[in-house]
């Protein structure tokens, strides 16, 4: 029943993509003899010897058949209103329901959190372009991310709504308190061997974790682990720890594939926004 709302929710989440940005052939990209990108070449290294995560990345796509298995007939309804570039099959399953792996008995959701979720499901769909999709939803929809690993700082750019996160790698620790809770939080990163570990806190509580509307509190802490397995593949897992909302931490794994010779687009929800006037409660 709950998944019935997904059609509306998804339609609102993203603006039209579809235009192609230039294909710039990056001379630094390893290629096989026939000129194709060698995605299984070793991961590149930054000047300091750490693996270099820089690149444009797309989460693995959850196929339509799997979406149908998980989410039922509503997926077919959603396919009927597919928007080019945002078709079912271009998102990640956790973008719909971050707790989809759990049976109702095992779910870490607190009863009070269920109530918040129920209210979220009744929210006014006309709230389009009002805030931002937030974390981690911005990386679970149909659009890629770009990682830039610079000295003392790694930045993740999300094509969705032109969002970005700064991850400080200059040795600072997470502040204990935050005067200014933020949509994308406050992140510090460190290396454990070849794994880049990012701790994030300082979130505000204004964005849900997924399209369904699973909430998080401003006490949410996230640990992300990135490992660039080879040139073309990035292992990426996120652990969410939010005792106010969930009884125990939970982890999702979202492997990413490199989009070689590509880039992210500009995306501005408020540009040409004309849906709001036509949406009904």
């Amino acid at each position: 029943m709950r998944y019935q709302r997904l059609v509306v929710l998804l339609t609102l989440l993203s603006a039209g993509v579809g235009a192609q940005w230039l294909n710039y052939r990056d001379p630094g990209t390893p290629r096989t003899r026939d000129g194709k990108v060698n995605l299984s070449a070793p991961a590149p290294r930054a000047a300091d010897g750490k693996p270099d995560l820089s690149g444009v990345w797309m989460h693995e796509l959850t196929p339509v058949s799997e979406m149908r298995r998980l989410y039922g007939a509503r997926v077919d309804a959603a396919i009927k209103v597919d928007v080019p570039g945002m078709e079912i099959g271009t998102q990640h399953k956790y973008g719909f329901d971050i707790l989809v792996d759990f049976t109702p008995e095992e779910s870490p959701i607190r009863p009070e959190t269920e109530d918040i979720l129920e209210r979220a499901l009744k929210r006014d769909p006309a709230e389009v372009c009002v805030g931002v999709p937030g974390f981690p939803l911005a990386d679970l929809l149909s659009e890629p991310i770009k990682i830039l690993q610079a000295p003392r700082m790694t930045v993740i750019f999300y094509e969705v709504d032109n969002l970005h996160r700064q991850i400080y790698t200059d040795g600072r620790v997470l502040p204990k308190e935050f005067d200014l809770p933020a949509y994308m939080g406050y992140s510090v990163g460190r290396w454990e061997g070849d794994v880049f570990v990012v701790e994030t806190a300082g979130f505000n509580d204004k964005t849900p974790l997924d399209a369904l509307g699973h909430p998080h509190s401003d006490g949410l802490r996230v640990t992300e682990r990135f490992r660039r397995r080879d040139f073309g593949h990035l292992d990426y897992e996120m652990t969410f720890d939010d005792p106010k909302m969930y009884t125990k931490p939970f982890t999702i794994k979202v492997p990413h594939d490199l989009l070689a010779d590509s880039d992210i687009f500009e995306s501005f929800c408020s540009e040409n926004e004309k849906d709001r006037a036509h949406l009904k409660k």
Binding site: L22, S54, G131, V132, D170, L180, A182
Partner: protein, 277 residues
């Protein structure tokens, strides 16, 4: 006055909150331990000047006050007082004869001023072009890495990529962008950035000096010393201007601070109340 209100309304949310302070690394110090802003500009490992840092716009001393601008607009409560925003409102304010508009462009700008600049993209939660981002009172952060320089703008959460990996500018086939497509190369200590691929409706300043899709921008970034940066911007847009023109924009470093998030759409309720016909 109305114009100022529109501008303020679009620029003002959440300016007082702060991230935790964190001391900037590598700041040259004077004998008494204070930051020496006249100290030498830092370099990256590859020997080029390092522009990384958070920067604030400082109005040019040559900028003429615009007669239409009421006094007191300079201080917007964004921390350090801004001496003035004449260049932000009118990018031609340092030029003796103003900008060399084509007749239609002059007429368009006049109309925009008469309409209280209500269609400035900044006032509608839309991205502002590169020139307004240079002169905007909200700070910007430069992140310089080999092959790619990124500028994060607090103003309207703008993001700009400057490719320094040797690629050429795209010819003709670029998808027009709010921020265009930028490539940079080094000329001694100067970073020379060329940009094309603009949309046809760029506002170069609050008062709506236009830039068209035929426009090309060349920026020469020079970090004069630790605390100061100068950007010389040349605009070549034969559709809107009778000849190329050049202005200088000055920036000063901001230490031990950080940008804050700016989500314009959050609680955006201005548009129905805007005046101007």
């Amino acid at each position: 006055m109305v114009r100022v209100a529109v501008f303020l309304a679009s620029a003002a949310p959440a300016l007082f909150a702060q991230w935790p302070d964190y001391p900037a690394a590598g700041v040259p110090k004077t004998a008494d331990g204070k930051p020496d802003l006249t100290g030498r500009a830092p370099k990256t490992p590859d020997g080029h000047p390092d522009f990384s840092g958070i920067w604030r716009f400082v109005d040019s001393p040559d900028a003429r006050p615009e007669p239409s601008l009421p006094p007191g607009v300079g201080s917007l409560g964004i921390g350090s007082p801004v001496p003035g925003l004449y260049q932000f409102f009118d990018i031609g304010s340092t030029l003796k004869d103003g900008l060399p508009f084509q007749p239609w462009a002059r007429e368009l700008r006049k109309q925009r001023v008469a309409q209280d600049n209500k269609d400035n993209p900044d006032a509608h939660c839309l991205p502002i072009g590169l020139m307004q981002l240079h002169t905007h009172p909200q700070p910007r952060k430069i992140i310089q890495s080999p092959g790619l320089i990124v500028i994060l703008y607090e103003a309207n959460a703008g993001i700009r990529q400057i490719f320094t990996d040797g690629r050429p500018l795209p010819r003709n086939d670029a998808e027009p962008w709010w921020y265009g497509y930028s490539v940079g190369k080094w000329d001694g200590e100067t970073l020379v950035v060329e940009t094309n691929g603009f949309r046809d409706d760029v506002w170069l300043d609050v008062e709506g000096s236009p830039l068209t899709e035929s426009g090309k921008m060349t920026e020469r970034f020079r970090r004069i010393n630790y605390g100061n940066m100068e950007i010389e911007v040349t605009v070549d847009d034969p559709k809107a201007y009778t000849k190329p023109w050049t202005v200088k924009v000055n920036h000063k470093i901001m230490l031990n601070t950080e940008l804050i998030e700016f989500v314009c759409q959050e609680n955006e309720k201005d548009v129905p109340h805007m005046t101007g016909k």
